[in-house]
């Protein structure tokens, strides 16, 4: 049967058009009940079986609904049929494995797609998991359940009716089986109508009441409609109303508003900023300061911002907020004001009136100059309302770069898209005391997210006692404008705070790292032979000539010690003509990971292997990563080889790519390889090969550096872990050997050669990596700080920068150059993956490596980008290679690039957090004095980097209570913190001595100890009121001695060794 669906929509151009689409209704849609006797359902099942969809476990994929679903006294055996809002608000509950036998109506899915793709994808993921026995009933295309929209019906009402009718039909259809479908809705009106219709329906609470064994489910209920007045304090007048989406769109179009993604400053949760495109085509930062102006926007939300009058722009650098309770501050607005009118602002004594006068003068001048001043003043009157005497809102078009008014500052007038996720959190310790008495009745409590940038979240819970001292996940439901903080609900508990496993899980969750074990579907895609897999010359196409047999060549791999996932191996030998043949052999992962398999999808989702201090979260199942793909010595392994002919000067004569099979003769560590090079008595073929490689690598490196490749630096450390407890006993800097550089050099060469090759064959859809040139402004602060030292960084090109970095040496401080490189690294842009069709060839450049084109090819075991590149390369060299849209679809490839970039960034942050976690564990109970360098100047503190541990922290100069004035004041001219008597100052690069401590007690009334960070206190230079007092220091030193003695008794190493700064490449 055919129905035409007709609706009116707005096109991109803004025209209103009528669209007519066909809508076919069918009678062959089955109900999903596994033993339904209806002929349609029977034939659907047998048809699925014919297509090879056989039972998964005991679940029929075409009809997963169980014959014996959950039984309740109220409804008997039943299936749940939630409506759209139930999914949107309660997805966390529905995701619990206990909730199975759910019918998802296609009406609901369609609505979900419109409301939230995130929820939609989560629902789809559950449906895919057959064990859950969820079923999608396509009621919209079923002849008997389709409903036409009545003349006076809103689309929502029509959908509600469609849901009711579908449930009714299901009820009738299942009559013989004694199973009842139960509609779940929290919409009163819908509920009433359903019951009047004779449809079994209930609220979410009632339906969860059935799961008596899981009382916490009720806690997880999203508090959607809670009008909780208890938390509203009388001084709180609420947030400003948002503009409507239409107004926002119009505002952006008319260039009155700008839009961007809110990024909260890591040191100050009341300071946010967006990078917005301005009408002149440039991107500029717009600050949003204070809760009030942020107007319920949360980190990551896409927001529309109106730029405030120039007088309200901020002129000083950011202040670091001590991790205090926000409520302790009388009013968030006052605080924001305080942040703005910080003591260091040169013209703080000027009152608002004074500023207004000044602007009046400026306006007068404009008027005298003619121009459009008249219209401007008219606008002042019009727009300036609400900010009366402060002046007019600034139009984005009027902003110039060299403005003297400070940084553009704005306020949020609307949220374009929320980007809420679930957050790891802990109970507000200040509350825990009050709430301790609470009974099992639900109470409303505030929780603090582990992520400092997220505001407090109000949740209702029955388990306050259990939750205090624990980490748990919460989700935000809503943020009504009356409430200072958002409302949310409890999702699940993670474990005790301070526990290593819990904290690791927290950091994985917070960085959005997928760390669940691989599912059955994924493991099913592994080769059936398992670890018995052996090379088969016929199957692996060696006999057919597609795969080259390189087993006779002396190939070896060089990796860090303990490396089990060996991605790459090398060989080199002299050719008769005096040139060298050099080969880089990369694990042939794509031979095992075929596109669009479950394993491939999972790997694409994970995108990268994440390395934590104590564990590794693999992108590919272990069997592949550390066995079948790993290029171990003395076994036949499949590889993808890149083979060059290089002349004496390491210039490429030619390059070829092959799928190959290799037999590595040795797996060496960097150290072993280095020893072989250095030991003159060794003269075997492998050693000579390595020497040749080393010679060529040095030439390549020199050429690269001459071209302007940067040598940058980052502080990195390694932990020596105690074997059984995995507690860190030692920290050491990662050491660097000549052989590291050797391997790196050839990997770079391979990546560059491959990039050129795939770009040649897939000009529109090659996956490449670029590193944009950093804008000169990024170096402003650094340049400023370098001026007194008489050092100038040339930032014009990477070559100039590299050379000026080499020149920047201080005789007095050998570490200075390294420090400068660390700080320079921070001025760089992020390198990123992109699809060649989305950028102009000029934008392909990799700034840090000074190459015109670059990609990642060499680590397919741990990076998904390399997997894609392998497929692209294979398709480029082999005409018969089979590939589909995954290699040619520009849009899909761009989407994948976004995922890769995101995961890559998150993985880096997760490893860093893991190091931080272990650093804290290492320093737990210890007090250490160390030398550090000032790396960052804030308004009320300064950042210190301690090179020997590679850690960084903030020393606060302002006391916690705002009443006492800060000991040091910010001086804008020298970009330094100066004491009032000008005797002592703290500026960038200054060497300081600090004392390091970690609070032992994870659960205390102190927020910062829950978030666990290292606290730094200044020893040298001695600044009264800021540095640690002499007596206290001595006491600490004494305590440390006894502690050290005790520790020695336990056989733990307390002294620290090996402090080599590592030089790394930003590849």
């Amino acid at each position: 049967m055919l129905r035409n669906k007709s609706f009116v929509k707005r096109t991109r151009k803004g025209n209103i058009v009528r669209t007519v689409k066909e809508h076919y209704l069918r009678d062959d849609i089955a109900c999903g009940y596994e033993s339904c006797k209806h002929p349609v359902c029977l034939s659907a099942r047998s048809e699925a079986e014919e297509q090879g969809k056989t039972l998964v476990g005991d679940v029929h994929p075409a009809a997963p609904l169980s014959a014996s679903p959950r039984n309740s006294t109220q409804w008997g055996p039943h299936y749940l049929v939630p409506d759209t809002n139930a999914f949107v608000n309660q997805i966390d509950i529905l995701e619990r494995p206990i909730i199975n036998n759910v019918v998802v109506l296609s009406t609901v899915l369609d609505e979900l797609r419109g409301l939230s793709m995130v929820v939609y994808n989560r629902v789809r993921a559950i449906v895919r998991d057959h064990e859950r026995r969820w079923f999608v009933f396509s009621n919209e295309h079923h002849r008997e359940t389709f409903v036409d929209r009545a003349a006076d019906e809103s689309p929502n009402d029509r959908n509600d009716r469609a849901i009711r009718i579908a449930v009714k039909w299901l009820g009738k259809h299942l009559e013989g089986s004694n199973i009842r479908p139960v509609m779940v809705t929290n919409d009163e009106d819908n509920l009433r109508k359903a019951i009047a219709d004779g449809v079994t329906a209930c609220r979410m609470e009632e339906c969860l009441g059935v799961y008596t064994e899981c009382p916490e489910l009720l806690d997880m209920m999203g508090s959607v409609n809670i009008t909780d007045r208890s938390g509203t304090d009388p001084n709180w007048e609420g947030y400003a109303e948002y503009l409507s989406p239409v107004q926002i769109q119009a505002g952006i179009k008319a260039s009155i508003l700008v839009q961007g993604t809110l990024q909260i400053a890591p040191y100050n949760y009341l300071e946010g900023s967006i990078f917005a495109a301005f009408p002149d085509g440039k991107e500029r930062r717009v600050l949003v300061i204070g809760r009030k102006d942020m107007n319920r926007a949360i980190q990551g939300d896409r927001i529309a911002v109106q730029i405030l009058p120039r007088s309200q722009w901020r002129k000083a650098p950011s202040a670091a907020l001590v991790d205090e309770d926000e409520d302790a501050v009388p009013d968030a607005k006052a605080e924001a004001e305080a942040t703005q009118a910080a003591p260091s602002v040169p013209d703080t004594d000027k009152t608002n009136e004074g500023r207004a006068r000044k602007r009046a003068r400026v306006a007068g001048e404009k008027l005298a100059n003619g121009g459009s001043a008249a219209t401007e003043t008219a606008e002042v009157k019009e727009d300036g309302e609400g900010h009366e005497e402060l002046g007019e809102f600034v139009k984005p078009a009027d902003i110039e770069d060299d403005s003297q008014d400070g940084e553009p500052t704005g306020r949020v007038v609307g949220v374009i898209r929320r980007n809420w996720r679930s957050y790891c959190a802990f109970l507000d310790p200040n509350f825990a005391h009050k709430g301790a008495k609470a009974s099992s009745a639900p109470v409303s409590v505030s929780v603090l997210a582990m992520d400092r940038r997220i505001p407090k979240i109000k949740i209702r819970t029955r388990q306050v006692d259990v939750l205090s001292g624990q980490r748990f996940v919460v989700a935000i439901d809503s943020w009504p404008k009356e409430s200072r903080y958002p409302h949310g609900h409890f999702v699940r508990a993670l474990g005790d705070a301070g526990d290593k496993a819990t904290e690791t899980e927290v950091l994985l969750l917070e960085h959005d790292v997928p760390f669940q074990p691989f599912t059955k579907n994924v493991r099913a895609d592994l080769p059936p032979e398992g670890d018995k897999w052996l090379l088969d010359v016929d199957r692996d196409q060696v006999t057919s000539g597609k795969r080259r047999d390189l087993r006779h060549i002396d190939i070896c791999s060089i990796d860090p010690p303990g490396c089990t996932d060996i991605d790459d191996a090398l060989h080199a030998f002299r050719l008769p003509n005096g040139n060298f043949q050099v080969g880089v052999h990369i694990a042939d992962v794509t031979n095992f990971v075929k596109p669009n398999t479950a394993m491939d999808k999972e790997a694409a989702h994970r995108s990268t292997t994440v390395y934590l201090v104590d564990r590794r979260i693999d992108m590919l199942p272990e069997l592949l990563g550390t066995n079948l793909c790993s290029l171990m010595s003395n076994v036949d392994r499949l590889a993808f080889s890149c083979i060059w002919e290089l002349d004496q000067d390491a210039t490429i004569v030619n390059v070829t790519f092959h799928k190959s099979v290799i037999h590595s003769k040795a797996s060496l560590t960097y150290e072993e390889a280095q020893n072989r090079i250095d030991d003159p008595s060794l003269n075997d073929s492998i050693t000579n090969n390595i020497r040749d490689l080393n010679m060529l690598a040095k030439k390549l490196r020199k050429r690269r550096i001459d071209a302007g490749a940067l040598t940058l630096s980052s502080p990195e450390v390694r932990f020596r872990l105690e074997n059984d407890s995995q507690d860190p006993v030692d920290v050491e800097m990662k050491a660097l050997k000549e052989t590291n550089a050797l391997v790196e050099e050839f990997m770079l060469l391979a990546n560059t050669s491959v990039a050129a090759k795939i770009y040649e064959y897939f000009p529109d859809s090659a996956m490449l990596r670029r590193h944009p040139e950093p804008p000169a402004q990024n170096f402003d602060n650094l340049q400023h700080a370098l001026k007194p030292l008489d050092i100038q960084l040339e930032t014009g090109s990477s070559l100039a920068l590299a050379q000026s970095l080499d020149r920047a040496v201080l005789a007095s401080d050998p570490y200075f150059n390294n420090l400068l490189r660390i700080l320079t690294t921070r001025c760089m842009m992020q390198a990123q993956y992109f699809c060649s069709g989305s950028c102009t060839p000029e934008e392909f450049r990799h700034y840090g490596l000074a190459t015109g084109i670059y990609t990642h090819f060499t680590s397919p075991i741990r990076r998904y980008a390399d997997v894609m590149v392998h497929r692209l390369l294979h398709a480029s060299i082999d005409r018969d290679a089979v590939y589909g849209s995954e290699l040619t679809d520009k849009i899909k490839m761009n989407e994948q690039c976004d995922v890769l970039n995101h995961r890559h960034r998150m993985a880096q942050q997760a490893s860093r957090s893991s190091v931080e976690l272990y650093t804290n564990l290492f320093f737990k109970g210890k007090t250490v004095e160390e030398t550090g360098y000032v790396t960052q100047i804030l308004q009320n503190g300064f950042g210190v980097l301690i090179p020997s541990y590679g850690i960084e922290g903030v020393v606060y100069t302002a006391a916690k209570d705002a009443a006492t004035p800060s000991v040091l004041e910010y001086d804008q001219d020298s970009h330094a913190l100066v004491s009032p008597d000008k005797k002592s100052e703290i500026r960038l690069f200054r060497r300081v001595r600090v004392i390091l401590q970690v609070d032992d007690k994870p659960v205390s009334a102190n927020v910062s100890s829950m978030r666990r960070k290292l606290s730094l206190r200044l020893i040298e230079p001695m600044i009264v009121g800021l540095s640690i007092e002499v007596e206290e220091l001595n006491a600490l030193r004494a305590a440390k001695k006894t502690k050290a003695a005790n520790a020695d008794d336990d056989g733990k190493i307390v002294e620290l060794v090996a402090k080599h700064p590592e030089q790394i490449q930003t590849i």
């Binding site: 055919l2 689409k21 066909e22 076919y24 296609s106 089979v882 040619t888």
Partner: protein
């Protein structure tokens, strides 16, 4: 903006069809009295009207001594899409469709039977919902048969695409306009199985071509049945009038 899900995991397409299903087809021959042959053809929401004139005396320009020339004109009604748009006569896209139709029929019409003459096929697209070329060819076949022009066989055309690793028959406008969907139009002579036209947009790996082609050919067979029915209906109506 999320991308549209063209084929749901339940196996239904946006309009509720399964992957191997055609849209509803309804067609009628002899709809215009003034033309020598004519047809009205609907496939889903794509609707075309075709008029055939000829064989008739050619303009001097296109005179050939040993066979008839086929002339195709393709027009799109401004109201055919949801956004009203006027196309000029020289629109390259229209000319492309016209030339495809022309090429197709040059192989199927027995032009040698009509030397020194011209056959004009005027195609008017009234409503557009994807699959323009296939509907044009099918409708033109019907109109040519109606005009009594001798042909080797019917020419039946059908499109097929490839979505989410599944070959999909008869793309509608939504499916066709997503860039990554390859869009293959094939016209076959059903009795011999010979291919009169094979045309594709976007990219499809050669290993998958066979499956897609097979599905499209299958679709052509169904369309042949429909066209045959329409011809029979027109003939029996004529017979009724005569008797």
């Amino acid at each position: 903006m999320s991308r549209q899900e063209l084929l749901s995991p339940e196996g239904l397409r946006v309009d509720g069809r399964r992957a191997n299903e055609l849209r509803r087809i309804s067609c009628r021959a002899s709809v215009l009295n003034s033309a020598d042959g004519s047809s009205y053809y609907e496939q889903g929401n794509t609707k075309v009207l075709v008029a055939v004139y000829g064989p008739r005396e050619p303009r001097t320009k296109s005179l050939t001594h040993d066979h008839a020339t086929i002339n195709v004109e393709f027009n799109v009604a401004p109201f055919s899409t949801s956004e009203r748009r006027k196309r000029s006569k020289g629109d390259k896209r229209l000319l492309e469709v016209a030339s495809f139709v022309k090429q197709t029929f040059e192989g199927a019409v027995q032009t040698a039977v009509y030397p020194r003459s011209q056959i004009d096929i005027y195609i008017h697209l009234l409503q557009h919902d994807g699959g323009t070329l296939e509907t044009c060819i099918n409708a033109a076949t019907l109109a040519l048969v109606d005009a009594g022009i001798s042909m080797v066989d019917y020419v039946c055309a059908c499109t097929a695409g490839f979505i989410d690793e599944t070959p999909v028959l008869d793309l509608n406008f939504v499916e066709e306009s997503s860039i990554e969907t390859p869009d293959l139009t094939v016209a076959v002579l059903p009795r011999s199985g010979n291919i009169a036209l094979l045309q594709m947009e976007s990219r499809l790996h050669s290993s998958k071509l066979e499956d897609v082609l097979e599905l499209a050919t299958e679709g052509c067979k169904h369309i042949h049945k429909k066209l045959d029915d329409a011809v029979l209906a027109a003939a029996s109506e004529l017979a009724k009038k005569l008797s």
